[in-house]
Symmetry: C2
Subunit: 203 residues, 2 copies
């Protein structure tokens, strides 16, 4: 069997080749992507949007990071911002994507022939994997907790999906949400199956 270690290490290099100068991290594209849908929004709103949809398939950056990314994107000319004048009650900074930003984003979206491997960080599985250090009861509890949380998330996604329903501009986000909905249902089945596996374990 060929050891894949070096191959994988090499992958890690070649998978991020800065085409010309310096490539932006996916997070920057995600934030810019949030702005690629019709409308302008503030950093604060972006964070809520990310929490409500992005987070289910691509994690939601901390609010402070969103602000930082917005500043970077602005320095690159990919977004513009304006402070609200006296007409608005509150001082806030509203961002909008520029043509240049839209072009860069489209280029990024269309350039890769492979999106790259998904990364899953599943704390529950980490604990199950280390199950020999705990009691079966505790493990079961953790799994149940996970099931409860997942059901809550499913509800959230269903809500978000309902809101996107019918809006043409949201067709693709809608597909991502449907994918997420199915994924969460599968996550529930997976948890149930694991519960059974756990029960069948000789103590």
């Amino acid at each position: 069997m060929p050891s894949l270690l070096n191959a994988r290490m090499a992958d890690q290099h070649s998978s991020a080749p800065p085409p010309a100068d310096r490539a932006l991290p996916p997070t920057a594209w995600a934030v810019l992507g949030l702005l690629s849908f019709p409308g302008e929004r503030t950093g604060y709103e972006l964070k809520k949007w990310a929490d409500a949809s992005l987070r289910f398939f691509y994690w939601s950056p901390a609010i402070s990071q969103i602000y930082a990314e917005l500043r970077r994107l602005e320095s690159l000319g990919y977004v513009t911002s304006r402070r609200s004048g006296p007409e608005e009650p509150r001082t806030k900074r509203t961002y909008a994507i520029t043509d240049s930003g839209r072009a860069a984003l489209a280029d990024w979206a269309g350039s890769a022939r492979d999106a790259g491997a998904a990364v899953l960080k599943h704390p529950l599985l980490l604990r199950v994997w280390l199950g020999h250090l705990t009691s079966q009861d505790h493990l079961r509890e953790l799994v149940m907790e996970h099931i409860a949380r997942t059901k809550g998330e499913l509800k959230e996604v269903l809500d978000a999906s309902a809101q996107a329903e019918g809006v043409e501009a949201w067709a693709h986000p809608q597909i991502a949400l449907r994918w997420t909905e199915r994924r969460l249902r599968s996550e529930l089945e997976l948890a149930e199956a694991m519960l059974i596996d756990l029960d069948e374990l000789p103590s």
Copy 2:
């Protein structure tokens, strides 16, 4: 509808309350966990183990970070190391978990009543979500690529699972691998379903 932003922000604080002094990051526990199974191993071996199983449900740290974590764990007295003497061909440092380390790990594994939410970073979904910026063809290509990769991963997991088969010390890792196997099968179904959704989109 109650805005969940502040609640979630507050969560981010309260979800990591350092019980006494300073809590270790999950990565440290993962590395220590790798050493909690019978046998001693080197940093290099740990990396391979992580690549072969941990990575499917909890990502594999860079080799340099594994070395760094091992040094930290050693400074905490959770592991000990010894350099191979002249009896071994190669100079290498072999690590073993200590009683104190095992106790700390068991405490960590048993302490939480909630393992915490899983984080999924799925680059393919990010691109689909931004699908309005690309062609359907390109999107389909990316999905196909994902399916191919997933099939490869499934094969790897099946292999790893076969190797763990029957070894009592590996019962829990085995469950994690079975979970992963099911998850990857579901991932394939999810991708197929998304392909259909994509086709049904009005251009």
